[in-house]
């Protein structure tokens, strides 16, 4: 496999990376706007969705996880979900015992 072939396997051109960066910048601007504009009950869900979208875009496109071998996704997301699960349980137990 040549280096050029390896690049093609990743499936994105430089223009594609710039497009992703522009989308990320636009989402960041939207996130910051929630601090100044009253989004009402949509505030928290909108912020969470934007954070997750940015996270997944960087991991999938910039870190090439979308185009790479599945085992890397399994390793990374296993660590991530284990972290979310462990700390969600820990935080809820604090809430439980304090209440």
């Amino acid at each position: 496999m040549t280096e050029q072939h390896a690049h093609e396997e990743h499936g994105m051109s430089n223009a594609g990376y710039v497009r992703i960066a522009l989308i990320l910048a636009a989402i960041t601007a939207l996130e910051v706007s929630t601090y100044y504009v009253d989004f009402g009950p949509l505030f928290m869900p909108a912020l969470m969705v934007m954070m997750v979208v940015k996270f997944v875009m960087v991991v999938s496109y910039f870190m090439h996880l979308k185009f790479d071998k599945r085992v890397f996704s399994v390793m990374f997301y296993a660590g991530l979900f284990l972290a979310i699960f462990v700390y969600a349980v820990a935080l809820s137990s604090f809430k439980f015992f304090i209440a």
């Binding site: 430089n14 990320l24 996130e31 462990v86 700390y87 935080l91």
Partner: protein, 198 residues
């Protein structure tokens, strides 16, 4: 070892997966647990301000937004460096790596300025549980960015002297993975710590 193959200097096991890449993804998975713990601790203590200032009194959202934007753009320059390295374009690789390191240094400089401003406004490390958990979380992240900057400058120097053992593009990609990870951690910190009011 018969099963071990060399492909452009990168070592692969019988599965065809690069050992270095496998190790890096495992490391990043474990880093999720480290930052998960620090973020959870902050979420638990962010309301415990004692006599000190509250997060909403001291956070400078426009300033931190610019810092976040700078770090986000450093991810773009990093991926452009990886792309150039894959095409064996050393000059562009060095250029984009240097730009990435400078953007990272701008972010760290902003963090030092922010910490100094907070300290002058009465938020010392031991002022409150909020202060301690905030400084530990963002400080740990800042140290990660600083380590990344050192690795980027070292990588530029090694490319210039042609001293990279094994695959050049894979080495750049490994540093790139670490850099993007630092960026995604900040994406979470910026939203959960700065944008959600206590």
């Amino acid at each position: 070892m018969a099963e071990l193959v060399q492909e452009h200097g990168a070592q692969h096991g019988s599965t065809g997966i690069s050992n270095a890449k496998l190790g890096m993804w495992l490391f990043l998975g474990s880093e999720c647990l480290l930052f998960g713990g620090l973020i959870s601790t902050y979420m638990l203590y962010r309301g415990r301000v004692g006599d000190g200032p509250t997060p909403m009194q001291i956070f400078d959202i426009p300033f931190t937004s610019v810092s976040s934007f700078v770090l986000l753009m450093s991810s773009l320059t990093m991926v452009l460096a990886v792309s150039a390295a894959t095409k064996a374009d050393d000059r562009s690789t060095e250029l984009w790596l240097t730009v990435t390191a400078l953007l990272g240094a701008t972010f760290v400089g902003g963090q030092v300025y922010e910490f100094t401003a907070f300290y002058n406004e009465g938020l010392g490390f031991s002022t409150s549980l909020f202060a301690s958990s905030f400084y530990v979380l963002t400080g740990f992240h800042g140290v990660h960015v600083t380590v990344g900057i050192i690795m980027l400058f070292a990588l530029v120097a090694m490319i210039k002297r042609n001293r990279i053992p094994g695959s050049k593009s894979e080495t750049v990609e490994m540093i790139g993975l670490y850099w993007h990870f630092v960026d995604i951690v900040w994406i979470v910190i910026f939203t959960l710590i700065y944008l959600i009011p206590v």
